[in-house]
Symmetry: C2
Subunit: 356 residues, 2 copies
């Protein structure tokens, strides 16, 4: 045994977040953030009056925020748990629903944090490979007896599943929880939220970090049956009663009420994405059809790692993993029109020089 480290901690596989360059002179397309500021209503709400109350604990139940989210999706506050980023509510769900005798299944190519959290709780994990074209076939999960976790749209591929597939999984085994991680659903996927009232074995996880432009506030939430949400709350109150601070609760509630701004910025990102797809194709890139705020692209002749390095030297940050099956692709976040113009201009020049 190590001198201080517990055997459980010695088995951990900590997640590596995308680089956060310190100097601001770069085009940052590597962590799927929104390029737009939060709703102006949020900025107004960050007032001195609220700051004067920071000496008091924030509401451990996150009541105001949960009510705002529930109202937005036509559900009851008891169907909602909010947390410090979707990673936190995912961790609560992993601990509440998986353990001895009940493992967890997820894709080989998906959000890599599922593996980190499975290791954290010592869970038996079943890795289900995506098909050759990176598509996820829910038939591959039909017989799995534990908890199923599916990112929809998936990351880093951006590919989306039809709602009917999720429904088939839910119906195949009513004693098994299906967790759908919808971090990117607002950019063109179909949410499973309308299924929550019918299926008590469904958990839907979403985040304010992408489509709500609030990665810096750390707000995630999970929606499900009152019973499942109760289990997640018991984990939360065994870990940290007050996981969300006052600014996040106040500003989150305000953001979720501003549907006009939300629809406007997600539509802009989707429009930019579709334009970037067209332009990348003309430069010799191919990619799965992304419904997220990023594109997972590989070039017909130039290795992804070389493009990644060249971009980085030009202060354009995208995400690259030197891992099996995905080492020939780059994950490119959709930024502003201007940021994408910078990227495309660089790539046009770079690709033309490499061709001749």
């Amino acid at each position: 045994m190590s001198r201080f480290l517990s055997p459980e901690a010695a088995r951990l596989a900590p997640y590596t977040p995308g680089e956060q360059p310190v100097d601001m002179q770069y085009v940052k397309l590597n962590t799927n953030e929104s390029p737009f500021p939060p709703s102006p209503r949020v900025l107004q709400d960050l007032s001195q009056e609220e700051a004067g109350r920071l000496n008091l604990y924030s509401d451990p139940a996150c009541g105001r925020l949960n009510r705002a989210i529930a109202a937005r999706y036509g559900l009851a506050p008891e169907n909602v748990i909010s947390g410090n980023g979707s990673d936190e509510v995912l961790a609560f769900a992993f601990r509440a629903l998986c353990g001895t005798g009940r493992g967890v299944a997820f894709a080989d190519i998906t959000y890599s944090f599922y593996r980190s959290q499975a290791a954290l709780f010592g869970l038996e994990e079943t890795i289900v490979p995506l098909r050759e074209d990176f598509s996820l076939n829910v038939d591959d999960y039909m017989d799995f007896p534990g908890t199923v976790v599916i990112a929809n749209p998936n990351a880093p591929t951006g590919m989306a599943l039809p709602r009917l597939d999720i429904q088939r999984l839910l119906e195949a085994n009513p004693d098994r929880v299906v967790m759908v991680d919808e971090a990117y659903v607002d950019f063109g996927g179909r949410s499973a939220l309308p299924l929550v009232e019918k299926y008590d074995n469904l958990l839907v996880v979403q985040t304010f970090s992408k489509s709500r432009s609030m990665a810096g506030l750390r707000i995630g939430f999970c929606i499900g049956s009152e019973k499942l949400i109760g289990y997640l709350n018991d984990v939360k109150f065994s870990f940290n009663s007050y996981t969300m601070n006052l600014p996040s609760q106040l500003l989150g509630a305000e953001a979720v009420r501003d549907d006009v701004y939300f629809k406007a910025i997600t539509a802009r990102i989707v429009a930019t994405r579709e334009r970037v797809k067209r332009e990348l194709r003309t430069l010799g890139f191919t990619f799965p059809d992304s419904k997220a705020n990023f594109i997972f692209a590989s070039h017909e002749t130039i290795p992804a790692q070389q493009i990644f390095q060249a971009l980085r030297e030009a202060d354009i940050y995208v995400r690259y993993w030197n891992k099996p099956r995905i080492s020939d692709s780059l994950r490119i976040t959709i930024g502003t029109e201007e940021e994408m113009d910078t990227l495309l201009a660089f790539l046009k020049d770079y690709v033309s020089k490499r061709r001749f």
Copy 2:
């Protein structure tokens, strides 16, 4: 097995936080918050400019805040991990340092969250009773082979240990980590921080929720050897990479730099506490000698539960636990002079009516 709940989660013992009354017409002395707002420098820093950057992830390493804390205590940033309240860094430490073959020991009467977190990670816990007068004798821990957790000053008693006692524990077994939870140390205790450079088996946990008047921002930190802090970081990055949002990182760093304000408000709370002690004694209360921002008082004739109920009906909230050894005491947070006057006036009247 329950239909959805994991066996591990079924064994949880979630913490019950102090009541947070919704309506603001009350005197709230039940959760040990500071009655004062944060440093005015903090309020200035909550600017619109910062809010415009909320679309980007906050620094997962909390570099600016860690550097500010390290500078304040004359240590290196590598000796510091910041988290979402001290509960979160405590949880990271429990997971990193305790597990199979290495249990955890703490007092029977202490911060009750240690039990919740031990259950969360399925740890073997050894409960060491305080002495009859609520004092903690470190000799009772000398032979314990696992991790020792001591709140100093202890809660809810407020009693403080000399630094030499912590040092004796550290020296008794260099292969065992001693965690000292100093949530209340700034109100008159002696911190173990000067021992960090000498003992690589020491972890000191502190919080911004009490003496820094920032409970609503959720900031805690842990200081220790670079090796131990590295272990805690590995747990953090297996659970949630970005646990602290941008406002907490910015405002926390600003708060820790304002030592003048910090010293002024802690001195005011200490002065108020000493006055309240004198007045409570004249009303027939006894209590251990608190070095924290609360007093753990019992009355010579009136049961604590009756006083608790009477105070509550008068909209004065204190904390009461109907539990062995402590059911005859109330934990009274030190608020403003005016709040304590309200409490004392009520008690004077209440006690006099009960006497005759």
